[in-house]
């Protein structure tokens, strides 16, 4: 049975860098794909987004949050958090700054 693609929803601040789209549908991941693998796959055609969301070590930037089905992955398994088939993954710029 084919897996349902994951919907990666971008914040408004990054949409221009993705050609104006608000979300990227990502398929091809297995049942146990992680946030890291999901982002690798999603950003393969949007390389500029990778540098915005993750540092060069592959870590989610300090003031960026990734929610998997509404749960803050950066507070649990981080980039190793498992992303279920058909999940909605939000990238959010943290409410911070001055």
């Amino acid at each position: 049975m084919p897996l349902t693609p994951v919907r990666l929803i971008l914040p408004g601040m990054l949409r221009d860098l993705a050609g104006g789209v608000s979300e990227i549908e990502v398929d091809g991941g297995g049942e146990s794909q992680t946030v890291r693998e999901l982002l690798d796959r999603a950003f393969s055609e949007h390389r500029i987004l990778d540098g915005k969301v993750r540092d060069e070590r592959g870590e989610i930037r300090r003031h960026v949050k990734v929610f998997v089905n509404g749960e803050d992955a950066t507070r649990s398994g981080g980039v190793e958090t498992v992303v279920p088939s058909g999940a909605r993954v939000h990238i959010v710029n943290a409410v911070s700054g001055g």
Partner: protein, 370 residues
Amino acid sequence: MSGSTESIVAIGTRKGLWIARSDDRRTWSVEGPHFLMSEVASVAIDTRAGRSTVLAGVKSWHWGPTVQTSDDGGRTFTESADRAVAFPSDTETALERIWQLTPDPNDDDVVWAGVEPHALFRSADGGRHYDLVRGLWNHPHRPRWEPGFGGGAVHTIVAEPGHPEALLVAMSAGGVYRSSDSGASWSASNPGIRAYFLPDDEYPEFGQCVHKVARGVDGELFAQNHKGVYRSGDRGQSWQSIADGLPTDFGFTILAHPRRPGVVWNVPVADDGERIPPDAHLQVQRSDDSGRSWRMQADGLPTDSFTCVLRDAACTDAGDDDEPVGVYLGTRNGDVFASVDEGESFERIVTQLPDVLVVRAARVPCRETA
């Protein structure tokens, strides 16, 4: 003045980049902001080989640091889809901020980047992509370099025209390091620079908090330290104090005249614990004799001023051969002052910006806009 060129002042602030333009350096129009809400801590205007390229080290507090590039004198910017500056994976280090961008005087395709954490990068493609300079990264002193108040970074890069093998960097707090093999190896070079804040040895091999180094046209070097102003006549091998005659030895920046040997400008700050102008009068101190004597230049600069000029928030332009060099100051309360008579008088050209972190000025070819 040629009708085919214009003067631009690139003003990087805590919340974006502004560009001031002028045909005569007296009447200015201001464009911006570019990168609103992103910090612009470093700017270079690359006029080599007829270019009018503006490079900006931009940091979004959400989306991280990058280099933005303009090939039309700062009107439009692009960034590489790939990370322009990135630490190699084996370093297990992430870039925090780009503190300095310096076009190399010996190779039109080379641009140097000084970054936080303490590291130097080299671009061989005009500033689009940069590679870590391993010689400095692998220096045995690096684990003992301490961050200054603003962070631990290579904030100053001085290359030597005619000597591509000679490089000098400065960092807070690590001091001055020199390379004589194009960056392959480095040596601390701080003899004579006092580190008053260290309890046992005030003249260590390294660990000084050098704030800025400027190179004169004849190769003489001038350094503003965290307390202490120095000159070097031997390419940075040794340093002598030139603080006598200044109202204070504290400050962040220092400038050298691009054409006249021995002419240097210092922007004094009252004290380490009192970071306002001396007597609350914003001013520059100018020397025409390599720091042996100083005189205040403050015509047009405000009194009752409680602001500060940061490390890279002052610059000169090159001027033309037949006209005086321009001197530019940006303040933490968002003003930019310009002098077209080498500091004798200043005019406020921009006001009400965010805190100014960097100012760079140059004459560039005019580009007609549609």
